[in-house]
C-alpha cells in the first residue's frame, strides 16, 4: 500500500483466544476502499460464505450468538492530519440484534485515528468469551485481558480506568455500559466518553461476546502517497471548509441541534410519536436555546476543524449535571420532541444517562414515545408500568425510563426490546415508528418526501444518514429541491446513499459533504493512498458497497417487502402545518428507485452484481 493505510488487519477470536494478523489486501482496498466497504466484503467472503459452505443458513445466524462477527473499521484517510474531519470510524456486524439486517454504526472522537496509531486499519472480533474481557492494543501488541472488575461499570468510569491503565498519550477506549452488558437491543458502543457508535444495537453484540471494551494506543503514523499533492489539497480544503457558512460557522456555533427550528418550521419535526409534525413549543429545546443557556464550549473529534460537538451543563435543579456533551439534534428530538418533553434540562439529563449507560438515544426516545402512545391509548395496562408514569410530556418519567431500560428494571425490560417488539407485544405494531426494526430519526417524510424513500431503502433500517436527502430538500445543499414532491427523489436518494457509503469507507465525517463531493474524495484517495480514481470511480465504489450490503441482506431474507414505512406515514395525512394533508407517495418513488438501482424485488440482480464487479 502506498499510503493512508497502516496495512494490517487484526482478527481476535474470543472463544479460543487466538490472535491473528493479515496484511490489508490491495485488491479489496481498491474496490471497497476501507471502513464499511472493506469490512462488508470480508464479512461476506470470510464468514458468510464459510457458514454457507458448512450448511449454515445466514438466516440462522444469531446476532447475539458467538457466530456473529463485529468489526471496528477505519479507512485510508482516517487519522491523517489536515484531511477534513478525519476522526471517525465505522463499526459493522454480520447481523444487528435489533433489525436482523447488517449491523452498522459510525462514531467520532479519537478512537478511529488512535486505532490506526495502535497499528491496525481493521479489527475483526469473532466468537464469544466465557468471562468478561477487554482487548488491549498498544503499538501492535495485542492482549485479551480479564474485565471482571470492569463489568457493571458505566461507560465513563470504564473509559477512565482503562485510560489510566494504559497511560499512553494516544489512548482511546470504546466500551459498553450496563445496557450493552444486559443486551438491551439498542445498546450502543461509546468511545471517548460521549461519542457513540449509536445505531443497530452493536453494544448488545459486544455484551453477548462478553467484550467490555477495546482499548487502543500507539504511535504508528500512516504515510501519505503523494506529499506534494496532499499538502495542496489539505490547504485548499481547509480554506473551503472555513469559508463554507455551514461547516465554517453554522455547525461550530450551534451544533446539530440548530435543525430543531427549521425542521419544525417546515412541519416535519415529529411530535408525540409522529402524531403530527409541528410543535408550537419546539424553540424551548432548540439549538439556539441550548447555545444560549447550557453551552460551555465545543469539543471536536480528532483533527476536526468544524467542531460541532457541544460541552454543556445544567447547573441546578433535579436534572443537574455539571459536565456533559451534546445533546445532538437527533437526541434532542427523540428524547424531547418525540416524547413531548419540553424541558430541555430533562432532555440533557436523559441524554447524559444514555451516554453513561450505553444506549442509542434515537431508539431510546422513540421507544419511550411509542410506549407513551400505547399507554395513552390504554393499550398498556397501568400495572405493567410499575409506577412509571409514561404520559407524553412527563420529564421525570423520561429520565427514569432510561436507566430502567439499561438495567431491564420493571417495565424497562420491555422498553429494552425496542419499539417494534414493544408495539407488537401490546397488539398495535403500527405504533412503532421504525423501518426494519430500527427506530426512525427526526424528520417526518410527509414533509420531505425523499427522506421517506431513503428510510424505506436504507440498508440498516430506518436511518437518515444513509442517504441524507434533507441536505437538498430542506437545507438547499448542494441545491434546493422541493421537499413536498416525490419527483426526482429516487435519483437523489441513490446518489446520497452511494456517496455516504464512500464516506463511511474513507472513513471521515459525513458533515464534510456539506462542502466536498465525490470529485474531492477521488483527489483525497489519490493523494493519500496513491490511487488514480476519477469522480465516477468513486461513485461506482459507493454503489458497489451499497449493492453488496443489499445482497448480504437478501441472504437474511430481506426483500422489497421490507422496504416500507410505518402506516402512519403512508396513510395518515399530516394533520397540520405546511405539510398538512400530505402522506408519503412511496410506491411511485420506490418503483423509480428500483429501476435506477437495477434491483428486482428489492434485491440486486446477478447482472447488476456482475456489472459492479462484485465477486460472490
Amino acid at each position: 500500500m502506498k499510503g493512508g493505510y497502516i496495512g494490517k488487519t487484526l482478527f481476535v477470536n474470543l472463544t479460543d483466544g487466538t490472535i491473528r494478523e493479515e496484511p490489508i489486501d490491495p485488491g479489496i482496498a481498491e474496490k471497497y476502499i476501507g471502513g464499511k466497504g472493506y469490512a462488508l466484503y470480508v464479512l461476506y467472503r470470510r464468514y458468510l460464505k464459510e457458514y454457507m459452505s458448512k450448511g449454515v443458513s445466514p438466516r440462522d445466524i444469531d446476532p447475539l450468538g458467538p457466530e456473529n462477527v463485529l468489526v471496528f473499521a477505519t479507512g485510508p484517510i482516517t487519522g491523517i492530519v489536515g484531511i477534513p474531519s478525519p476522526g471517525r470510524y465505522h463499526v459493522m456486524a454480520l447481523r444487528s440484534p435489533l433489525t436482523g439486517s447488517v449491523g452498522s454504526a459510525n462514531s467520532g472522537g479519537e478512537f478511529g485515528p488512535f486505532m490506526k496509531f495502535a497499528g491496525y486499519d481493521m479489527i475483526f472480533i469473532e466468537g464469544a468469551a466465557e468471562k468478561p474481557v477487554y482487548i488491549e492494543i498498544v503499538n501492535g501488541h495485542v492482549d485479551i485481558r480479564n474485565a471482571e472488575d470492569l463489568w457493571g461499570l458505566n461507560t465513563f468510569t470504564t473509559t477512565r480506568v482503562l485510560r489510566e491503565r494504559v497511560r499512553h498519550r494516544n489512548t482511546s477506549v470504546a466500551c459498553i455500559g450496563p445496557a450493552g452488558e444486559n443486551k438491551v437491543l439498542f445498546a450502543n458502543i461509546m468511545n471517548d466518553e460521549h461519542r457513540a457508535a449509536g445505531r443497530t444495537g452493536l453494544g448488545a453484540v459486544m455484551g453477548s461476546k462478553k467484550l467490555k471494551a477495546v482499548v487502543v494506543a500507539g504511535d504508528h503514523q500512516p504515510q501519505v502517497a503523494n506529499v506534494e499533492e496532499y499538502r495542496k489539497l489539505v490547504a485548499e480544503m481547509a480554506e473551503r471548509m472555513r469559508k463554507n457558512p455551514v461547516t465554517g460557522s453554522g455547525l461550530p456555533q450551534y451544533g446539530t441541534a440548530i435543525l430543531v427550528n427549521i425542521i419544525n418550521q417546515i412541519g416535519g419535526l415529529p411530535y408525540k410519536n409522529w402524531q403530527t409534525g409541528y410543535n408550537p413549543e419546539a424553540d424551548k429545546i432548540s439549538g439556539e436555546t441550548l447555545a444560549s443557556k447550557y453551552l460551555i464550549k465545543r469539543r471536536p473529534c480528532w483533527g476536526c476543524q468544524i467542531a460541532c460537538g457541544r460541552v454543556t451543563r445544567v447547573q441546578f435543579g433535579p436534572y443537574q449535571i455539571l459536565y456533559t456533551e451534546g445533546p445532538e439534534y437527533e437526541s434532542v428530538w427523540a428524547l424531547g420532541n418525540d416524547t413531548g418533553v419540553m424541558d430541555l434540562e430533562a432532555v440533557i439529563k436523559a441524554n447524559h444517562f444514555c451516554d453513561e449507560l450505553g444506549i442509542d438515544t434515537i431508539s431510546m426516545g422513540s421507544t419511550i414515545a411509542t410506549a407513551m402512545e400505547l399507554y395513552e391509548r390504554k393499550l398498556i395496562p397501568e400495572e405493567d408500568l410499575e409506577g412509571l408514569d409514561l404520559r407524553f410530556g412527563n420529564p421525570a418519567a423520561l429520565v427514569e425510563a432510561v436507566w430502567r431500560t439499561a438495567y431491564k428494571a420493571g417495565f424497562g425490560a420491555k422498553l429494552a426490546l425496542g419499539s417494534k417488539r414493544l408495539a407488537e407485544m401490546y397488539g398495535a405494531p403500527e405504533l412503532s415508528m421504525s423501518v426494519k426494526g430500527l427506530e426512525l430519526p427526526a424528520y417526518d417524510p410527509r414533509a420531505a418526501k425523499g427522506i421517506g424513500l431513503n428510510y424505506a431503502t436504507a440498508n440498516r433500517g430506518g436511518c437518515h444518514v444513509s442517504g441524507y436527502t434533507i441536505a437538498s430538500e430542506v437545507l438547499g445543499i448542494p441545491e434546493k429541491t422541493d421537499p413536498l414532491t416525490p419527483t426526482g427523489k429516487a435519483k437523489l436518494a441513490k446518489i446520497f446513499q452511494d456517496l455516504t457509503s464512500v464516506v463511511n469507507s474513507a472513513v471521515n465525517c459525513l458533515f464534510t459533504t456539506f462542502e466536498i463531493g465525490a470529485r474531492d474524495y477521488a483527489r483525497l484517495f489519490n493523494a493519500v493512498a496513491g490511487y488514480s480514481f476519477t469522480e465516477e470511480d468513486v461513485m461506482r465504489i459507493g454503489e458497489r458497497i451499497y449493492n453488496l450490503e443489499r445482497y448480504i441482506m437478501s441472504l437474511y431474507g430481506f426483500s422489497a417487502k421490507d422496504d416500507t414505512l410505518p402506516p402512519r406515514l403512508l396513510k395518515e395525512p399530516m394533520p397540520e402545518g405546511p405539510a398538512k394533508g400530505h402522506v408519503v407517495e412511496l410506491d411511485v418513488m420506490l418503483k423509480e428507485y428500483y429501476e435506477l438501482r437495477g434491483w428486482v424485488n428489492g434485491i440486486p440482480t446477478p447482472e447488476k452484481l456482475r456489472e459492479l464487479r462484485i465477486e460472490l
Binding site: V246, A257, L259, I266, H464, L475, F511, P578
Partner: protein, 91 residues
C-alpha cells in the same frame, strides 16, 4: 392592511436581537414587508434577505413553512409567517 410575522433564527436572531417581529403591510407584498422590517431592524436586514431582483438564495426563507423558491404566489395575507435562517445544517 395585513399583519405578517417575521421569525428569525440562529445568527440572525443574535444579530438583530429579536426572535420575531410583526409587520403591518399595505399590499402584502413580500419585498414591501421586508423593507418595512428593515425600518425597524436596520438596513442590514434588507440586504440580509433581498437582492435587487428578488431574494437571497444563500438564506433559507420560508413563507408559511414553504421554501420561497416553491411559493407560487408571493402575496401575503393576514397572519402569514416568514421564517428566515442563515445557511445551516446538521444531521
Amino acid at each position: 392592511m395585513v399583519r405578517v410575522k417575521i421569525l428569525l433564527f440562529a445568527t440572525l436572531r443574535d444579530k438583530y436581537g429579536v426572535r420575531e417581529i410583526e409587520i403591518e403591510s399595505e399590499r402584502g407584498d413580500f419585498r414591501e414587508v421586508i423593507e418595512k422590517a428593515g425600518e425597524v431592524l436596520g438596513r442590514d436586514f434588507i440586504d440580509d434577505v433581498l437582492t435587487n431582483e428578488g431574494f437571497r438564495n444563500d438564506r433559507i426563507i420560508l413563507v408559511n413553512g414553504r421554501h420561497i423558491q416553491f411559493v407560487k404566489d408571493l402575496k401575503l395575507g393576514e397572519g402569514d409567517t416568514i421564517a428566515i435562517f442563515p445557511p445551516l445544517a446538521g444531521g
